[in-house]
């Protein structure tokens, strides 16, 4: 049985639906990537899973159990953590306070939480040295790390990462992606919504392509990486570019012929 399943899900923001008839499944221990252009509906899909949006119709199943009606807080307790797009850290609070809020729903004692902080700081050494600093003064990349770390504080089974590479320096992006693999190896299932399709598919097990509110393609990440449609539309290479090149080359050829 998959860890999480979406069945014929239709969802939107109080107006016309943004996503229609979405079927998607996540198996435990996978990295699954959502690939799609800006505005395709990736973030909407992630929000529907974390409970920020209520579906118009269809089902969200966790361990085969319907969780449509659960609030974000309850889903968090069930093990779904959402690291939102644009980081959304608490800028005026310190790193330590941000991390502690990540475990807000956790009723365990302060010591267990301190251990959790220690573990997260091991994954993110840069945060460990700056626990007392105000988070808003960090660079974009460090804020992204903090956002992921904060998401991990609730000991999630499923981590939803929405555009973690957005506005992050390329070197740090590579580090974030390595970290995602490491988290998977620790047993966390990961759903990664990314515009940066090549890097995301490179570390993923499977992928879904979202276009205009529909899932248009799905399959193993390797296959998607190699498929011509993906290469053309999301990887910036492929036949279309070549075609136009040969086209213009031919035009140039004809032009030359005319002149001479």
């Amino acid at each position: 049985m998959p860890l999480l399943e979406l069945k014929n899900l239709t969802v939107g923001y109080t107006g016309a639906p943004i996503l229609q008839g979405i079927d998607l499944s996540l198996n435990a221990g996978e990295i699954v990537t959502l690939v799609g252009a800006n505005g395709a509906g990736k973030s909407t899909l992630v929000k529907a899973i974390s409970g920020l949006l209520q579906p118009y119709s269809g089902e969200v199943l966790l361990d085969g159990r319907k969780i449509n009606a659960l609030s974000p807080a309850k889903r968090l307790r069930e093990g779904i953590a959402h690291v939102p797009e644009g980081r959304q850290i608490f800028a005026g609070l310190t790193v330590a306070e941000n991390l502690d809020l990540g475990a807000y729903g956790d009723r365990s004692d302060a010591e267990a939480r301190a251990q959790r902080v220690a573990h997260v700081c091991e994954l993110f050494p840069v945060l460990g040295t700056r626990l007392g600093e105000v988070a808003g003064n960090f660079s974009g990349g460090q804020q992204q790390l903090l956002a992921i770390a904060r998401g991990l504080m609730s000991k999630p089974r499923l981590l939803l990462l929405d555009e973690p590479s957005l506005g992050v320096a390329p070197l740090l992006v590579a580090e974030i992606f390595r970290l995602i693999v490491r988290l998977r190896d620790e047993g966390i299932t990961i759903l990664l919504a990314e515009q940066n399709a090549r890097q995301a598919l490179a570390i993923a097990d499977r992928g879904y392509v979202v276009e205009n509110g529909l899932i248009t393609l799905e399959g193993p990440a390797r296959t998607l990486l190699d498929s011509p449609e993906i290469a053309e539309r999301y990887l910036g290479v492929g036949t279309a570019a070549e075609v136009s090149c040969t086209e213009s080359a031919r035009m140039a050829e004809r032009l030359r012929a005319c002149i001479w």
């Binding site: 923001y13 109080t14 943004i18 505005g39 973030s43 909407t44 974390s50 920020l52 974000p72 807080a73 968090l76 307790r77 959402h82 939102p84 959304q88 850290i89 608490f90 800028a91 005026g92 609070l93 306070e97 502690d100 809020l101 990540g102 807000y104 729903g105 105000v134 808003g136 003064n137 904060r150 609730s154």
Partner: protein, 636 residues
């Protein structure tokens, strides 16, 4: 020296109360990003409940006081849950502020209905005889006040900085979306902060009650003082709120003692305006500024339903015919006067609508310009025998001058601070009206203002005055309808919707705001003069801050951004107490309640609802853009 120390002790006591109220403001602001002006109302409510329990039912004070505080918190939390919390999701912060004006008015109205308008005082908690510290005589209640303030400050500090709950409250302030992802119930936290602020306000109310007398509308003064204190100190900082409160308390007490009783408020207000210009974020500022989601922008309007041209002409003709026939149909002089007053106020409202409804600039001091116009006209006609028309023009010129000076402050401000600066202006005019006894007649008012007259014809009766004002209104409406549908009106609405985008389009924001502000000041001044001529009398409370807030209620209840809409609000609020005498007692409660309800459920006011109905009738299908839609754009 002893006298000085004695005054400082008084200042400390008053300052502690201001600091408590200011803390409540700061708490709600830090959690929600919005301001609730209902604070002072809860203080008075708490004190009055305490009075009833201890004096009427004879409960001992140690029982009556805590029960009164808890009862107030329960009422406050209930009111917050049905008004403030849902409003936060739907309204811009400036409109939430206005909604809480309605809440404050409703609470005052409630107190008026239950306790009447006489003043009350609680007995001091520990006896009447003052304590002697060296040469100083200190009333024992002063210790209670200062101790209560210290306890609340310490408690709040521990809660906010040392507990997980406090951390969650701050998280909501920083970023509500992320907070809900962390599993924090943002609505619950909002309500909690509102309840806590109510608790603080109620404590302030019961400890201050023995040192002074409280009546149903004292809350307004407390709210205003607390608001001023929190802005002087810096709303994002608790130490700032406390410092602002103490500073304000000491300043007003010292000014009262050494300068003049009548001008102590004016001095405090001048300090405030100075702070607003010099350090608009207050004396003590937060380390990291800015919330992720500050909603300074105006409420996103669905379009007010537009009538088909032919229907519109019929409506205009019918309306004019009715307006002309009113004096013939209405036989009661009282009602006729009421209608005339509503029409006079409508002149101010047209200007206020241009300023608030179209340009999105909050003004809580519009009656200040009415006062300038009214007093100028009165003074010139009584003392210098100037012709009324000229005196009106003189008042308008003076108002324009004041508006230009004030705009040096207001043009730099938006939202909350703009609201405060205009409020301060209204209060300033108010305190000058009270203070310059020789010119204005002081608190008891200016008597013997002649009726309006032109070339020997005197508009003495309500009916004559009615036709005069009707004429003015028709001319104003016609010209502003034209202006608002021209490039000028579109530029104003662009500024309201998105100031930055408007600037990017090349709209000269400063100029348009200035013009809108000047228009509103001129019209308010004109209306103030006519008001004075109509009553043959003018007193500070006729054109004070209460009037300013009432004008805003009229505007919102009638319908912002519609020009004609405010007339409905004006008629309703002015006539209800006249037509139904028993309603007089309920007027305050009703207008406050109506304001809250309109903000929440009738965003286009009575006129908007009516226009939609008419448009639907004339088209036989729903009006364009679905009328009462209330959408806050959601980021995708």
């Amino acid at each position: 020296m002893i006298e000085f120390l004695q005054i400082c002790v008084g200042g400390l006591v008053v300052g502690s109360i201001y600091a408590l109220i200011a803390l409540g403001f700061s708490l709600i602001y830090r959690v929600t990003g919005a301001v609730s002006l209902a604070q002072g109302g809860f203080s008075v409510l708490g004190a009055l409940i305490g009075y009833t329990l201890s004096q009427t039912y004879g409960w001992p004070l140690f029982l009556a006081i805590p029960v009164a505080v808890l009862a107030t918190v329960a009422i406050g939390a209930g009111l917050g849950a049905i008004s403030f919390v849902p409003a936060l999701e739907r309204l811009s912060n400036a409109n939430v502020l206005m909604l809480t004006v309605g809440l404050l008015t409703a609470i005052e109205g409630l107190c008026l209905v239950v306790w009447g308008s006489q003043p009350y005082a609680l007995p001091p908690f520990s006896g009447e005889s003052p304590a002697r510290i060296g040469p100083l005589l200190v009333p024992t209640q002063a210790f209670w006040v200062v101790a209560a303030a210290a306890a609340v400050i310490a408690g709040l500090w521990v809660l906010i900085t040392r507990t997980r709950l406090g951390r969650a409250l701050r998280a909501c302030a920083e970023n509500p979306t992320a907070a809900s992802l962390m599993g924090i119930g943002v609505k619950r936290m909002t309500l909690l902060s509102f309840g806590l602020a109510t608790l603080i306000a109620a404590i302030a109310g019961v400890v201050v009650a023995p040192t002074t007398t409280l009546q149903f509308d004292t809350g307004r003064l407390l709210t205003i003082s607390g608001f001023i204190a929190v802005v002087i100190g810096g709303i994002t900082s608790f130490p700032g709120a406390v410092a602002g409160g103490l500073l304000l308390g000491l300043t007003t007490q010292l000014a009262t003692a050494y300068v003049s009783t009548l001008f102590s408020n004016a001095i405090a207000l001048l300090i405030l305006l100075f702070v607003l210009v010099w350090r608009p974020n207050g004396l003590i500022q937060a380390k990291v500024a800015g919330r992720a989601d500050v909603r300074e922008g105006g409420r996103v309007h669905g379009h007010v339903a537009r009538l088909q041209p032919n229907v519109a002409w019929i409506a205009v003709t019918v309306a004019l015919a009715v307006a002309l026939a009113v004096p013939l149909l209405v036989t009661s002089n009282g009602i006729m006067s009421g209608i005339t007053i509503a029409m006079i106020l409508f002149i101010t409202l047209i200007g206020l609508d241009v300023l608030m409804g179209y340009t999105g600039q909050v003004s809580l001091g519009q009656a200040g310009f009415m006062a300038i116009g009214g007093y100028t006209s009165g003074y010139l006609t009584i003392v210098h025998d100037v012709a009324p028309v000229l005196s009106i023009l003189a008042g308008m010129a003076l108002s324009l001058g004041c508006a230009l000076v004030l705009s040096m402050v207001t043009l730099r401000l938006r939202g909350l601070y703009l609201a405060l600066a205009t409020l301060a202006f209204g209060l300033l005019v108010d305190s000058f009206a009270v203070g310059f006894v020789d010119i204005t007649g002081g608190p008891s008012g200016m008597v013997g203002i002649p009726s309006f007259s032109v070339g020997g014809y005197e508009f003495a009766s309500p009916r004559a005055m009615y036709y005069l004002v009707l004429g003015i209104n028709v001319v104003l409406l016609a010209s502003f309808f034209g202006a608002m549908n021209s490039g000028f009106g579109r530029a104003l609405r662009a500024i309201r919707t998105d100031q930055t985008a408007a600037a990017a389009l090349g709209i000269n924001i400063v100029r348009y705001k200035l013009v809108a502000f000047a228009i509103s000041a001129l019209l308010a001044s004109l209306s103030g003069s006519l008001y004075a001529f109509f009553f043959n009398f003018l007193s500070p409370d006729m054109v004070g801050t209460n009037r300013s807030l009432e004008l805003v209620s009229m505007l919102v209840i009638g319908g912002e951004g519609t020009l004609v809409g405010p007339l409905f609000g004006s008629l309703l609020i002015t006539l209800l107490p006249t037509v139904f005498q028993p309603f007089a007692l309920y007027k305050t409660l009703l207008s406050g309640g109506l304001l809250v309800v309109c903000f929440l459920y009738l965003p286009q006011g009575l006129y908007g609802a009516l226009a939609e109905r008419l448009a639907r009738l004339s088209l036989g299908r729903p009006a364009r853009a679905g009328g009462a839609e209330l959408i806050r754009s959601t980021p995708r």
